[in-house]
């Protein structure tokens, strides 16, 4: 019963945190660019405004995938707060990502189509990093359960800092920040118009926004796992990573998809693999 309450609270609170973070993101980005910036609550205004817009659509299937995107993202979050299997969480996150891609594909619109293909490239880029993160956690803890991380008194960051760096790269993709904001862009002018989101409008756009908030909280939650005892340090680290992303966003131009895949696979392979092998051999020696 306790667990059910935790899950419900997490599902209810997460969008507020996510929206607030998105607001901070916009405000801080504006300040970094020498602008005054929108109010912190701006993402919520946007969200409610979108809810009030009239529905227009090009396709019904698109909505089904968008709902799937949201539901699976919430499931991932529930998995995180209930301290379930990390590997399965990553696979579920994969389903969420694929749903979003399919939402983009399910209309015959060129920019949506380009965006979906690029989103696929993004999945191809960050998926190995997340999976290797799970494997690295297993290498360290001997279990894929998030609960084992929480119980472990030594923070993961000490032995898994290369994986942490790789995960920050994945976070850049997940937060859709420069240099990897190739599939849809939150602001600025892009060759893809709005990528996957091009044909998504009104209340369904609000749905995507909501999902992105959940996603943000989820990914930051994953980063917080790196210092789970005490958790507040982990949360601080996650916030630090969040701010780091904003800085990265503002000092880089957007790269192309091909470069992104190459950088991510190199990062995943070099950083994560070396880290895992190191732990593996250290255990072998001991």
């Amino acid at each position: 019963m306790n667990q059910v309450w935790i899950a419900i609270i997490a599902v209810v609170v997460a969008p507020f945190i996510g929206g607030l973070l998105a607001g901070i993101d916009r405000k801080l980005t504006a300040r970094l660019q020498g602008r005054y910036g929108p109010p912190i609550l701006q993402p919520f205004y946007d969200f409610f405004k979108l809810l009030g817009k009239s529905k227009i659509a090009t396709n019904r299937t698109q909505f089904i995938w968008l709902i799937a995107y949201l539901v699976f993202m919430i499931t991932c979050l529930v998995f995180l707060v209930l301290q379930q299997d990390l590997l399965l969480l990553v696979f579920l996150l994969g389903f969420a990502g694929i749903s979003f891609v399919l939402a983009g594909f399910s209309t015959k619109s060129p920019y949506s189509h380009f965006g979906a293909n690029r989103e696929l490239m993004q999945i191809l880029s960050y998926e190995p990093i997340l999976l290797l993160f799970a494997l690295a956690v297993y290498a360290q803890n001997g279990s894929f359960m998030i609960s084992s991380i929480m119980e472990n008194s030594t923070p993961l960051l000490i032995s898994l800092w290369p994986v942490f760096i790789a995960l920050v790269i994945a976070l850049t993709i997940k937060m859709r920040k420069s240099p990897f904001d190739i599939a849809t862009s939150h602001h600025g002018h892009q060759e893809l118009v709005k990528g996957i989101m091009t044909e998504i409008s009104g209340p369904y756009y609000a749905l995507v926004t909501l999902t992105e908030w959940y996603e943000l909280v989820l990914v930051l939650g994953l980063i917080a796992l790196f210092w789970s005892n005490p958790l507040w340090v982990g949360i601080l680290i996650a916030l630090g990573a969040f701010i780091l992303e904003l800085l990265i966003d503002n000092v880089n131009a957007r790269l192309t998809g091909g470069l992104m895949v190459r950088i991510c696979w190199a990062a995943a392979l070099i950083l994560c693999v070396l880290n895992i092998l190191y732990i593996y051999f250290m255990r072998g020696v001991a």
């Binding site: 019904r60 089904i64 379930q84 299997d85 694929i98 983009g104 399910s106 999945i123």
Partner: protein, 661 residues
């Protein structure tokens, strides 16, 4: 029914039915025979569960041994004939490398007499029954599907002379051979059934008699003949190195040795190699890709759900006889195939080739699991065999149905199928989702494999990269099907019963097995795992899959309780909320429709995909898929793939040789 009768139904009934089908040229009657056989096989296979497993059986009459020997040589002689008539020297060479040593061994050395004494002929344990179930149920459904498929196929080709009887003959015959193969314990018999499946495979691939079909059939033939040669070599070695003793010419005895007998490692490696060729592992993937020219039921039956499974079946069977190093190298081989095939699948433009690569990849995953040889890994392998057979059988049938609706296999031509054939598309999409996403069984298997794979870090990394690539090629294809212009009021197409019964059966199967996997595992699959490796842990808890931490290869000091958990029911509930409910309840009003965004220049109403281009000409929107030719094409990657795969095989054999000699 006693065991003898059941075996007869499983193996001989298809043979008899095949002959009948060949003789009867009347469409309805022929179909009826196939359906009756299918029902008999399914019922019979379920009866196997009631047996007191494991049990042995050897036919009393020695005539069976003689018949098999005679047919063996007949098949090999046919290969020689085929090689000569097709002027395909590879076929000829590898037929000769089988027949000459075999004849020399049986008659030159004079082992033929001793060989008749090998007992038992059949070993019926849970693993074998599991395979029989897969073959009989899914195989039979595909045979039913083939009745109508071949009719349409020939209608479309406008053949003067119907060759459906011949086709169904080989298809039904194959079921018997396959059942024999998985049940056989006597290596000689195993070898015979093995050759029959190869023969069926050749005949079916070459069925259309086009040049390409014959060439690809021949390729399948000679590649599998290499496997046959390896098996012959293994048998001769087992006989000779053991001083003319037939003890190790029985699978159960090899396995029972548990990898301790050093000299056994080479024949085990050889047979493993045979299995890997049958499972089209890199570098032998080409025969399976070529096999895609065959009519789709062939691909569904032979090249995804059953025959190629014989290869992985053999590897799993032999897993206990590996030593740890061989196990590791087999795991890496499998993992490499998984990775390379997944990446190559991204650049494929033909639907069936994607399915073929996906099959190769998944077989690689299963073989890798067999190589890992932990309880968890073997359990994963079993689950993967079952779920892969269901999902891939379904997908191939879907591919066939789609082909008969649009008369093309190209993924590009499947654009907007969701509108032209919503029902087929719906089933296809479900099948595809079940291949790579939670909560379905394939993912459960992959998840277990990943949790088990840590013992071999190299394989783990390949798994991870392959998983990412898998998502990409499936999603691309899915996207293609879904890509439609805005329109309301689709009309649902009607499928003939011969199509829809197998399709819906497997469709339901995905969900039934997916949801009920925990009880199923507990009641049945667990014992099949036990046939390979002794089970020590319960992986289930009610409807859930729970992995205790001791189930890993890596023993850690810390007792953290759980390795992982997979809440099956909650995930299916999530799936229902995420997909099924919206599918039922999300509606769209016509007035909410708007044309797609074409930079403000769309021409026409809401369902338009045209726009005004230069000089006010109306131009049609075309959307081609991405195939990443520059990065993932066969041309650019094949050289690497072959080098690495061959290197891995060389390492495998050097290890086996080093240990054995």
């Amino acid at each position: 029914m006693d065991i003898q009768g059941m075996l007869a139904v499983a193996i001989l009934l298809p043979v008899v039915a095949a002959v009948l089908v060949f003789l009867i040229r009347q469409y309805q009657l022929r179909g009826l025979i196939v359906i009756v056989t299918a029902v008999a096989l399914i019922v019979n296979s379920i009866y196997f569960l009631k047996l007191d497993l494991p049990m042995n059986f050897t036919p009393d009459n020695p005539i069976w041994g003689t018949i098999i020997t005679v047919l063996d040589y007949a098949i090999l002689l046919f290969y020689i004939y085929a090689g000569l008539s097709l002027k395909n020297w590879l076929v000829l060479i590898f037929a000769l490398t089988q027949i000459i040593p075999l004849a020399w061994w049986e008659f030159g050395v004079g082992a033929s007499h001793a060989l008749e004494e090998i007992k038992p002929a059949f070993l019926i344990d849970n693993l074998a029954v599991l395979m029989v179930l897969v073959i009989s149920i899914i195989g039979s459904l595909i045979c039913v599907y083939a009745i109508r498929y071949m009719y349409d196929h020939e209608e479309h080709k406008k053949l003067e002379k119907s060759r459906q009887s011949r086709f169904l003959f080989w298809l039904v015959l194959f079921l018997g051979a396959m059942n024999g193969l998985v049940l056989a314990d006597n290596l000689m018999w195993l070898y015979f059934f093995w050759e029959v499946t190869t023969l069926c495979c050749f005949q079916l691939i070459a069925h259309d008699l086009t040049k390409e079909a014959i060439n690809n059939g021949a390729r399948a033939l000679w590649m599998n003949s290499i496997g046959g040669t390896a098996m012959v070599a293994a048998m001769i070695y087992l006989y000779n190195a053991n001083g003319g003793n037939i003890e190790y010419l029985s699978l159960s005895n090899i396995i029972a040795s548990g990898g301790v007998e050093a000299f056994l490692l080479l024949p085990v490696a050889l047979m493993c190699f045979t299995g890997m060729i049958k499972a089209a592992q890199m570098p032998f993937q080409n025969w399976l890709l070529g096999a895609m020219v065959a009519p789709t039921p062939v691909s569904a039956l032979l090249h995804s759900s059953t025959m190629v499974k014989a290869g992985v079946y053999l590897v799993i069977r032999l897993a206990p006889a590996f030593n740890p190093v061989l196990g590791m190298i087999v795991a890496v081989c499998g993992a490499f195939t998984f990775f390379a095939a997944s990446v190559l699948a991204i650049s494929q433009t033909t639907g069936k080739r994607v399915l073929a690569y996906s099959t190769i990849a998944n077989l690689g995953l299963i073989i890798a699991c067999a190589g890992l040889r932990t309880e968890l890994a073997i359990a994963a392998a079993m689950l993967l065999i079952i779920f892969h057979a269901i999902s891939k059988g379904l997908l191939f049938m879907c591919a066939g149905t789609i082909e008969h609706q649009i008369w093309s296999r190209e993924i590009e031509d499947m654009e907007g199928l969701a509108e032209k054939a919503p029902l087929t598309t719906f089933i296809t999409i479900t099948g595809m989702l079940s291949m790579f996403l939670p909560p379905f069984g394939m993912l459960l298997g992959k998840w277990m494999a990943l949790e088990a794979v840590y013992a071999v870090p190299l394989a783990a990394i390949l798994f991870v990269l392959a998983s990412a690539a898998t998502m990409v090629f499936w999603a691309k294809w899915l996207g293609r099907l879904l890509q439609v212009t805005p329109k309301l009021g689709k009309k649902i197409e009607s499928l003939s019963l011969s199509y829809s019964v197998p399709l819906w059966s497997l469709f339901v199967g995905i969900f039934v097995f997916g949801i009920g996997i925990a009880p199923l595992y507990d009641r049945f699959i667990k014992f099949a795992v036990d046939n390979v490796i002794p089970i020590q842990h319960a992986f289930t808890e009610g409807w859930q899959i729970i992995l205790p931490d001791a189930a890993t290869a890596l023993s850690l000091e810390k007792g953290v309780g759980l390795l992982g958990s997979y809440p099956v029911l909650p995930l299916f509930i999530v799936f229902a909320i995420a997909i099924v409910l919206p599918l039922l309840f999300v509606k769209l009003k016509p007035q909410e429709l708007r044309p797609i965004y074409l930079c403000g220049e769309h021409a026409g109403d809401v369902d338009t995909d045209e726009w005004y281009a230069e000089a006010d000409n109306v131009s049609k929107l075309e959307l081609g898929g991405y195939y990443f030719e520059s990065a993932a094409s066969e041309e650019s990657l094949n050289a690497w793939v072959y080098v690495i795969a061959i290197a891995l095989l060389v390492i495998m054999f050097s290890i086996a040789l080093g240990v054995s000699l």
